[in-house]
Amino acid sequence: MTTPATTPMTTPATAPATASVPFSGTRGGEAPLTWGQRLMWRAVHLMGPSQSFLNCPWVLPVHGRRDLATVLAALRRMLERHESLRTTFADTPHGPVQRVARGGELTVELAVTGPEGPLATAERIAAELGTTVFAHGEDLPLRCVVVLADGRPRALAFVFSHLAVDFQALSLLSAEWRALLRGDDLPPPEWQPMEQAALEREEPFLRRSRRSVRYWRSVLETVPLEVFDHPPGEPEEPRFIEVGMESVALAAAAVRQAERLTISTTSVVMAACATVLAVVSGRPRAVMQLVHSNRRDPRTRPLVATVGQDGLLVLDLPGTGFADTCLAAHRSALMAYRNAHYDPFEMQAMRAEIGRVRGREPDLDAFFNDRRGDGTWPNLPRLAPGEDLTPLTARTRTYVTNAWPGVRFKVFFTLGTDPGTGRLSLIVDTAYLPRETARAMLLGVETLLVRGLTEDVPLAAVRDLVRAHGEIRGAKGLGPDR
C-alpha cells in the first residue's frame, strides 16, 4: 500500500493536464561550483540564447503496468536521491554558487501518446522541451512530461540542464530507473556535487589542475590562431547547422579496426574525424577539444552531475596510413584525457593571458564528443568476419538535424548513443564550411574507416575522397593543385 505523495490534478481541457511532484531530500545547502559545473556555467553564458544547444533531452520508458502515482513516486525519489536535480545556480560576490534545495515541487505535464507510439512520442516531446532555455537561478534543472496511453503512463520525456547532468549521468539515471519504478530500496548516493566541490579545492586535485593548465598552455603558445586559414564566406541563416549521418558501415569498420589495433572504437572514429578536419583545413596537424566523461575518481563514477570536461587533442598525422593515424590518435587522446582535469576558471585565466601575449586567444572551436557511455554498439547487426563492408555504405543516410544562430563551434563531431548503428553528426559554422562540405566530411569519415581496413589510405587520397562526396568550397587545402 502506498499513499501517493503526488497529486494528479484535473485542469480545463484547453490547458495541458499537469501533476505535482513534491520532494523532500535529506539536506539542502550552498557550495562553490564543481569543475564540471564551472565549465557549463561559462558555456551557458557564452552561448546566451543559443544555450538550448546544451540542454539534454532524455527518455525513460515505463516498464510493466504502472499507474501514474507509482511513476510520480519514482520520479520523486529520483529528485530526492540526486541533489544535482534540485540545484539552482547564482552569481555571488564570491563567485558563482550551487544552491541545493532540500524540498520543493516539480510540476510535470501529462500528454497522450501520438500515433508514433509512446517512446517515439516521448522522444519528440523531449526534443521540443529542449528548445527552451533554463533560468538557472530559479528553475529546477529538469522538465518532464509523462506520456500516457489508455490512461496509463508509458514513457517519460525529459530535458535536463547540462549544469545538472552529462550523458554519463543520464545513463546512470536510466540504469536506476527500473529499480525506482519497482520501489526497490537503493542505497543513498554517498557523493554529491557539494562533496565534489570541496574535494576539488584540495590536493591532489589542485596539482592536477596546474599540470593540465601547463599542458594546454604549451599547445596554445603555438597553435594557429584560427581553425581555418580561409576567410569566412556568406553564412546560412541560422548560421550553425548540424548534419547527421546514420551508418552501420562506420560502426562496423570502427569495431574491426579497434579490435585489430587493440584500441577503443572512440580512438578509431576520432582518428578519422581528425584526419578529415586536417585535410579540410589543409594542415598536417589536427587540434580538437575532446569532450571527456572525466569520471576517473571512483567517487565520481556513480555521481549524477555534470562531471565531463574537455581535453585537448593534438594529432600530427603520420602520413603513412590510417592504422598509424589511429595509434597516434590513441596516444594523443591519452595525453588529452590526462590533462582534462582542471579548474575551468584557472584555465580561462591562462587562456586570457595567452590572448594578451598573442594578440588574441587562439580559436579552439573544433570538437569531438563520443556520447556512448561504454564506448560500444551493443546492438550492431552481426557480420561475418572479414565481410566486405562497402555494400553496407549504400544504406547510409545523411540529414540536417538542427540549426542555431550562435553556438560558436566551427566544427563539432558527435558520436551518438544509438546502440545499433553509427550515428555521427557534425555541427559546422556555415561561414567556413557549407552544408555540402559538412556532408562530404561525414561521408569522408565513413569511407576512410571502411577503406582503412583493407588499404593504407594516404592523406592525398583522403582529400580526394572528401571531394568525391561533395563540392568543397573555401578550404584552400582542397584545391585541385594540392
Partner: protein, 84 residues
C-alpha cells in the same frame, strides 16, 4: 622487493579496471594491459592512482610502452622513486 611493487601495481590495475582485469592476469604478463582490456579511462585512473599511492609525478610526454605491462611499469615507478 620488485615483486612487492609489481603486486601493488597489479592491485591498482584491478581497482582502476573495476575488476575487469584481475591482479593475477596483470601480474602474469602473458598479455599487454591493453590486450587485457584496460580502457583509456582506466589507464588515466591508473596513472592518477600511481601518483597518489607513491607520491611521484608521472610524465607521459615520452615513451608510453612502460605502461602496458606491470613488470615494465614497476621498473618505471622504481626509477621515479629513486629520482624523487
Amino acid at each position: 622487493m620488485s615483486g612487492d611493487l609489481e603486486r601493488r601495481l597489479a592491485d591498482l590495475v584491478a581497482a582502476v579496471s573495476d575488476g575487469e582485469i584481475s591482479a593475477e592476469e596483470a601480474l602474469a604478463g602473458e598479455h599487454s594491459l591493453s590486450a587485457l582490456g584496460l580502457t583509456s579511462l582506466a589507464w588515466i585512473r591508473l596513472v592518477d592512482a600511481i601518483e597518489d599511492a607513491f607520491g611521484v609525478d608521472v610524465d607521459l610526454g615520452g615513451d608510453l610502452s612502460a605502461f602496458d605491462r606491470v613488470d615494465a611499469l614497476a621498473a618505471h615507478v622504481s626509477d621515479l622513486l629513486d629520482t624523487r
